[in-house]
C-alpha cells in the first residue's frame, strides 16, 4: 500500500539576499521534480550533502510545506522530530509538557494516558520528569522530545538526524524501538549522515543532490555511491580493478565488490594515540597525489598537531591492495600507539589466522559489547575473514596481512557492539621505543596488504605462516614477537609469556618479548629466530628443531658485537596451571593451589643439570619434561608463578660470577634444552645423593641440604639441615640459592663447598659421623665481596611427629601450626645464652616413637644463640636453630659460621 507518494514535486524557497543594504529576492529551488513512492512498512533513508533538500522532503511529507508544483500524497498519521524543542513550554514540567506536546501531535487525553508511561520510561530522566523543562540538560531535553515523538502511535515516523544527539545507551534504545515499529508495519523515513546507523535501520536509500534524486535503491548500492562523491573533493580517490572498487575518502578506505559495500562505518582507517588521546585518520585533512592508475599517496595532517601521516596505496593485478602507513611528526609530539584497522560488515562470519580460527557470534541487542578473540599479546602474520554465505551474497574472503617482521605489533580480531554492528581487524603497533626513535623524516610504522582474490586459502596461509609455525604431528610451536607458544593436540601447554628468555645486562632485565625478532624457516623442521634490543650490542639466536611429534630441541646463543656486561641469563617455560605435579632428579611434589603475590620456589633448590618435568592429573595435558646438560654452572628451578600469571614455571638460569660477567665480542652458546612430551616416567630418576652411614644413622647430603635417617626412617623434614642468611632484606638458603660440589668423601665424613649465586660468598661444610648417632657439622663462610648481613642461621628442620621440645633448663610441647606460608615461623623458645643444647622428642608411645634429637653448638660464639620454632603450615616441621641476629657488614675474608653437634637417641641429657 502506498503511503507516501511524491509526484514531480517542486519546492521553492524565496530568499531575500541583502548586499550592502540592497535587498534582492531570489527563488531557490530546493526540490526539483522529485518522484518516488514509499510503501507502508518500508524504512527509507534519505542521504545527501548539506543543502541537498533532505529536510525539505521531510517537511513536504509532514505537510509543513506545500509543493509549488507537483503533488505529494501522504496517508496516515505522522509524527517525527523535525525541530527540537518546538512547542515546549519551559515553565511547565516535563510531565505537563508530555500532555501538551502529545496533544499538539493530535492525540486525545485518553490516548496520551495510555502512552504516558511508555514515554516516561523511554526518556529515562528519572525524577526530573516533574521538574520544569527549562532546567533540563540538552541530553534530557532530546530524550524527552524523542520519547514523545517515537511513542506517538503514528503510521509514519520522520527522523531528521536527531539520533546523533544522545549517548550510546540511548541510541541503542532508539534503534531497538525503531525495529519494533518496523515490525509493527510503521513506515520510517530517516534523514542522516551516519551511514552505519542508516544500514541498521533502512533497506532502501534515496540519495539526493541539489534537489534531485541521484539514486534510489538498496542501501548497499547507494551508500558507496554517496561515499565516493561526498566529502572534501581533494581527499577522494578511487582505485578500481575488476569487481573490486576501492574508495579512499578523507582518511577512510571503502571496499566495494560488485557494487556491494564490504566496509561499513570507518572502513579501513588508522588510529594514532597522540599525547594519550586517540585520533582516527578521518579527523585529519587529506590531500591525494595519484601516481598512476593503480597507485596513490594520501597525506593527512591533523589540525592540532604537527603530525603527518602518509598512506601509500597500490592495487596490483591480483586484486591485492598494498597499504603502507608512514608518520612524520615533530619531535616533541608523543605518539604512543598506531592502529591499522579494517571495519567489516557483519556478513563476514568467520575469521582465521592460519594458526587459530573462530566464528563471529551474531550481534544482537543482548550482546554485551566489544569482544576480542585473540590472546592479548600475540602477533600474527595475517588475519583473514570470510562469509558463510559468500556465494549467495557475493562476498569475497578478505586477507589482511602485515608485511615484514612484526615484533612490535599486536593483532586483534573484534566483534563490535550493537550500535556499530560490525567486525574489526586490527594491527596495533604499540611500542614506545620504536616510535620514539622518529627523526624528521618519514618513518614507516605499518606495512600491510589486503587481498581479495585468494583462491587457495590453506596454501596461502601456510605460505605466510611458514616462518612462524613448526609442526610435527599434533605438536605445534608458534613463534610470535619474542615468544614461542607450545601446544599439543590443540591444547595449550604454555601461557602468557610462554617460552621466552631474559637477559640481565648492566643492571637491567631484557625480556625476549621486548626485543625485535625475526624468524626464518631454515628447513622443514627448523626455525631460527634473531632477537635484538635497542641499546644492546648483542643479538640472541634461538634455534628450534622438531624431529618427531613428541619433542623438540631448543638452543640459544648470544652473539656479542661489543664488550657487554652480562650478569644473568634465563630461559623459561611458563606452563599452564593444569600442570599440578612437578618432578626432578632431586625430588617431586605437587604445586600449591594458591598463587601468591610473588613467585614461590617449589623445590627450594637449584637443580644443576638433568631433567625437570611437569605432569597433570588425569593426564589432561601431556607430561612435559625438559633435559638440560651441565653447562657453565647453569641450574634449573621449578616455581609457582605469581597471582597475576597463575602459571607453573620451569626455568633454567645462568648466573655469572662477579669476575666473569664481561663478555668479549663472539658467539656463545647459552642453553641447549631438549623437550619431550609423554616420555616414559622412568627417565626422571632420583639422583643418588652422596651419603655416609654409621650403624643406624645415615646422613645424606643433598645439594646443600642434609637429611638424617635412623633405622631407615627419616627424622628430618622438607628443608632438613641447612644454613640460611639474610642480606639486604632477602634470604639465601644453602639449598635454594647455591650449587654444591662434593670435595671429599670417605666412610664416615663428607666435605662439600657451595657457591651462592646472588651473593659473592661460598660455604664449606664438613660433616663427620661420630660414635653412635652423632653428626658433627662444621661450617665456614668465605666472603668474596663486602656484604651486609642481618642474620646468620644454621637450621635443622625435623619431622612434625616430634611433639615435645626440651633444653637444658626447660621443656614443653609444640603447639599446633598456625603460621601461613608467608608469615614468620612461630618462636617457641628463645634459649638463654648459657644453655648448652636444645632438642626434640616424641611421646613414649611405641608406635609414634622417634629417637630424641639434640642439637648443641660446640663452640659458642658470642652473639649466637639457640631457638626452637614451629614452622609454617606448608613445611610443617619443628625447627632447631642456631642463629646470630647482629646486623653487620662483613668484609671479605674467612669466617667460622657454625660448629655444632647433632645427637640422635642420646641416653643422657648432655
Amino acid at each position: 500500500m502506498e503511503q507516501i507518494v511524491f509526484n514531480d514535486l517542486w519546492g521553492m524557497y524565496r530568499i531575500k539576499f541583502v548586499v550592502d543594504r540592497k535587498p534582492t529576492w531570489e527563488n531557490f529551488w530546493a526540490l526539483k521534480g522529485l518522484t518516488f513512492k514509499i510503501n507502508q512498512g518500508e524504512a527509507v533513508g534519505i542521504i545527501g550533502e548539506n543543502g541537498a533538500g533532505k529536510s525539505t522532503v521531510l517537511k513536504m511529507i509532514a505537510g509543513m510545506l506545500k509543493p509549488d508544483r507537483g503533488h505529494v500524497k501522504v496517508l496516515g498519521k505522522i509524527s517525527g522530530l523535525l525541530e527540537l524543542g518546538a512547542g515546549f513550554q519551559t515553565e511547565l514540567t516535563g510531565s505537563e509538557n508530555i500532555y501538551l506536546i502529545a496533544g499538539l501531535f493530535g492525540s486525545s487525553p485518553s490516548q496520551i494516558e495510555s502512552i504516558y508511561d511508555d514515554i516516561v520510561s523511554f526518556a529515562d530522566i528519572g525524577k526530573f520528569i516533574n521538574a520544569p523543562v527549562k532546567c533540563y540538560s540538552q541530553g534530557m531535553f532530546v530524550r524527552l522530545a524523542f520519547a514523545i515523538a517515537i511513542n506517538m502511535d503514528s503510521d509514519i515516523l520522520l527522523i531528521d538526524d536527531t539520533l546523533a544527539v544522545g549517548d550510546e545507551h540511548f541510541q541503542k534504545k532508539c534503534i531497538r524501538k525503531i525495529f519494533e515499529l518496523k515490525e509493527q508495519g510503521k513506515t520510517i523515513v530517516f534523514v542522516t549522515h551516519d551511514m552505519n546507523m542508516l544500514r541498521r535501520i533502512c533497506q532502501r536509500v534515496i540519495f539526493l543532490k541539489d534537489g534531485q534524486i541521484i539514486k534510489d535503491g538498496p542501501v548497499d548500492q547507494v551508500v558507496p555511491l554517496y561515499a565516493q562523491t561526498s566529502g572534501a573533493k581533494e581527499g577522494v580517490a578511487i582505485l578500481k580493478k575488476g569487481p573490486l572498487n576501492i574508495v579512499f575518502n578523507n582518511g577512510r578506505l571503502l571496499f566495494n565488490w560488485d557494487g556491494q559495500l564490504l566496509t561499513p562505518g570507518l572502513g579501513g582507517h588508522t588510529i594514532l594515540a597522540i599525547e594519550n588521546k586517540y585520533y582516527s585518520s578521518v579527523q585529519a585533512d587529506w590531500t591525494i597525489e595519484k601516481q598512476s592508475e593503480n597507485k596513490l599517496f594520501a597525506t593527512g595532517k591533523f589540525e592540532q598537531f604537527d603530525v603527518t601521516q602518509v598512506w601509500e596505496l597500490e592495487l596490483d593485478k591480483d586484486l591485492g591492495l598494498k597499504w603502507e602507513v608512514g608518520i612524520n611528526s615533530a619531535l616533541d609530539v608523543q605518539i604512543s600507539e598506531c592502529q591499522a584497522n579494517i571495519m567489516l560488515s557483519n556478513s563476514y562470519t568467520h575469521w582465521f589466522t592460519g594458526i587459530e580460527d573462530g566464528m563471529f557470534p551474531i550481534i544482537d541487542e543482548i550482546s554485551k559489547g566489544w569482544q576480542s578473540f585473540l590472546e592479548g599479546n600475540i602477533s600474527r602474520k595475517v588475519i583473514g575473514t570470510e562469509s558463510a554465505a559468500a556465494l549467495e551474497l557475493n562476498i569475497p574472503s578478505l586477507f589482511f596481512e602485515q608485511s615484514g617482521t612484526f615484533s612490535s605489533s599486536k593483532v586483534q580480531v573484534f566483534n563490535s557492539d550493537y550500535v556499530n554492528n560490525c567486525r574489526l581487524l586490527q594491527y596495533k603497533v604499540a611500542s614506545l621505543n620504536i616510535l620514539s626513535m622518529f627523526q624528521p623524516n618519514l618513518t614507516n610504522i605499518f606495512s600491510g596488504k589486503i587481498s581479495f582474490a585468494i583462491t587457495d586459502k590453506e596454501k596461502y596461509l601456510q605460505h605466510l605462516n611458514q616462518d612462524f609455525l613448526l609442526t610435527c604431528g599434533e605438536l605445534r610451536l608458534i613463534f610470535t614477537n619474542g615468544m614461542a607458544t607450545l601446544s599439543c593436540k590443540g591444547l595449550n601447554l604454555t601461557k602468557n609469556s610462554h617460552l621466552n628468555t631474559s637477559l640481565y645486562v648492566d643492571g637491567k632485565w631484557y625480556d625476549s618479548n621486548s626485543g625485535h625478532w625475526e624468524f626464518k624457516k631454515e628447513a622443514q623442521n627448523k626455525i631460527i629466530g634473531y632477537g635484538s634490543w635497542a641499546g644492546l650490542a648483542l643479538k640472541q639466536i634461538w634455534e628450534f628443531e622438531i624431529n618427531n611429534d613428541t619433542g623438540f630441541l631448543w638452543k640459544v646463543w648470544l652473539e656479542v658485537s661489543k664488550e657487554v656486561n652480562i650478569q644473568q641469563e634465563r630461559l623459561q617455560f611458563m606452563c599452564a596451571g593444569d600442570y599440578r605435579h612437578y618432578s626432578s632428579d632431586y625430588g617431586e611434589g605437587d604445586f600449591s593451589d594458591t598463587f601468591l603475590e610473588t613467585e614461590s620456589d617449589m623445590l627450594q633448590r637449584c637443580i644443576p643439570a638433568g631433567t625437570i618435568g611437569l605432569t597433570s592429573p588425569e593426564k589432561q595435558l601431556p607430561d612435559l619434561n625438559l633435559f638440560f646438560p651441565e653447562k657453565d654452572g647453569n641450574f634449573a628451578k621449578i616455581l609457582n608463578a605469581d597471582f597475576y600469571h597463575k602459571a607453573r614455571l620451569l626455568r633454567i638460569e645462568k648466573i655469572n660470577p662477579e669476575e666473569k660477567t664481561i663478555r668479549m665480542p663472539g658467539r656463545y652458546q647459552s642453553f641447549a634444552v631438549e623437550t619431550k612430551l609423554n616420555a616414559a616416567r622412568q627417565l626422571i630418576k632420583k639422583k643418588f645423593s652422596p651419603a655416609v652411614e654409621k650403624g643406624k644413622l645415615k646422613f645424606i647430603f643433598d645439594q646443600g641440604r642434609g637429611n638424617i635417617f635412623w633405622n631407615g626412617q627419616e627424622l628430618t623434614k622438607k628443608l632438613g639441615l641447612y644454613t640460611s642468611l639474610r642480606s639486604a632484606g632477602r634470604w639465601y638458603d644453602s639449598a635454594s640459592s647455591a650449587v654444591w660440589k662434593i670435595e671429599g668423601q670417605d666412610n664416615h665424613a663428607m666435605r662439600a663447598r657451595g657457591r651462592w649465586f646472588h651473593l659473592a660468598i661460598t660455604q664449606f661444610w664438613e660433616m663427620i659421623l661420630q660414635g653412635e648417632g652423632v653428626i658433627e657439622l662444621k661450617v665456614s663462610l668465605q666472603v668474596k665481596d663486602k656484604i651486609a648481613v642481618e642474620r646468620l642461621q644454621t637450621n635443622l628442620m625435623l619431622s612434625e611427629r616430634y611433639t615435645h621440645w626440651l633444653s637444658e633448663k626447660q621443656n614443653g610441647t609444640f603447639p599446633l601450626f598456625t603460621a601461613d606460608i608467608t608469615d614468620d615461623w612461630q618462636q617457641i623458645y628463645c634459649v638463654p645464652e648459657n644453655n648448652k643444647f636444645i632438642g626434640v622428642s616424641t611421646s613414649t608411645d611405641k608406635k609414634k616413637h622417634l629417637p630424641k634429637v639434640l642439637f648443641s653448638p660446640l663452640i659458642s660464639n658470642s652473639g649466637w644463640f639457640l631457638h626452637i620454632l614451629n614452622s609454617d603450615l606448608y613445611h610443617r616441621g619443628r625447627v632447631l636453630q642456631y642463629l646470630n641476629t647482629q646486623a653487620a657488614i662483613m668484609e671479605p675474608g674467612e669466617y667460622s659460621y657454625a660448629h655444632c653437634r647433632i645427637s640422635i637417641d642420646a641416653k643422657t641429657d648432655v
Binding site: Y13, L65, L104, G106, S108
Partner: protein
Amino acid sequence: MLRERLKNLYLYRHALWDMAVKQLEAKYTTSFLGILWAIITPLLIMSVISFVFTVIFKVAIKNFPLFILSGIYPWLFFSSGLSEASATILNKQTILRQFNLPREILPLSSCLSSFLNFLIGWLVIYPIFLFFNPKIILYLPLLILILLLHFVFLCGLSLSLSILNIFFRDVEHLLGTVLMFWLWMTPVFYSIEMVPEEFRWLCNLNPMTSYIIYYGDVMYRAVIPNFTTVISVFLWGFLSIISGWLLFLRLEAKILKRI
C-alpha cells in the same frame, strides 16, 4: 474541504483547550495578584474615566460609572484579545514548523484564552451590575448570546489579522493605534444619543457600535435591544468569521515559507 477542516479542528479540540488554558495560566502565574487582574483592570479604568468625565467634563449620564463599565469591559476584552491573537502565529512559528496541526488553532486558542479571561471577570462584575439594578437578571440569556457572538466576531478578526501579520508586519504596529482610534469611534464613553445626527452614520458604520449598544441595553438600561442592533450584531459576527476564515485558508500555504 471546509468540512474536513472543521473535522480536523474538532480532532484537535483538546489541544485547543489545552493551549488556551495554559496561555491563561502563563499570563497570571508569575504575578502576585494573578487572576485578580482580570477584574482590577476594568474597575480601575472605570474609576478613572468616571472621575474625569463626571467631575471634569461633567457629562450628564445617570450612573455614569456603570455606564462606562458596561462598555469598557467588553471593549477591553475585544481590544486585548485582538492584539494578542494577531501576534500568535508569529510568536509560535516553531510549533507550526514541527507539528502538522490545523493552523487556526493558534489564533483561536488565543481568542479562547481571552474569552475565558473575560468570563472569569464577569463572575465579579455581573454581581456589581445586579446590585445596582436587580432587573437585569431577566436579560441574562441575552447577555450570554452577545458574549458568544462577540467571541465569534473576535475570532474572525483574529484569523484575518494573525495571518496578515505574517505578510505585513505593519499590522502589529498599526493595530495599537487603530484600536485606540476605534475606541473613540465607538459609543463607550458617550451614548449614541449624544452624537450629533450628521455624524451618527459614522458610528453606525462601526461594527462594534451595535455590540456596545447591545451590552448597554442588557446591562445598564435593562431593556431588550432593538431589532437593528440585533441584526447588526449577528451580521457582523458571521461576516467576520467567514471572511476571516476564508482569508486564513487562502493565505495559509504561503505563510509556511515565511516563518
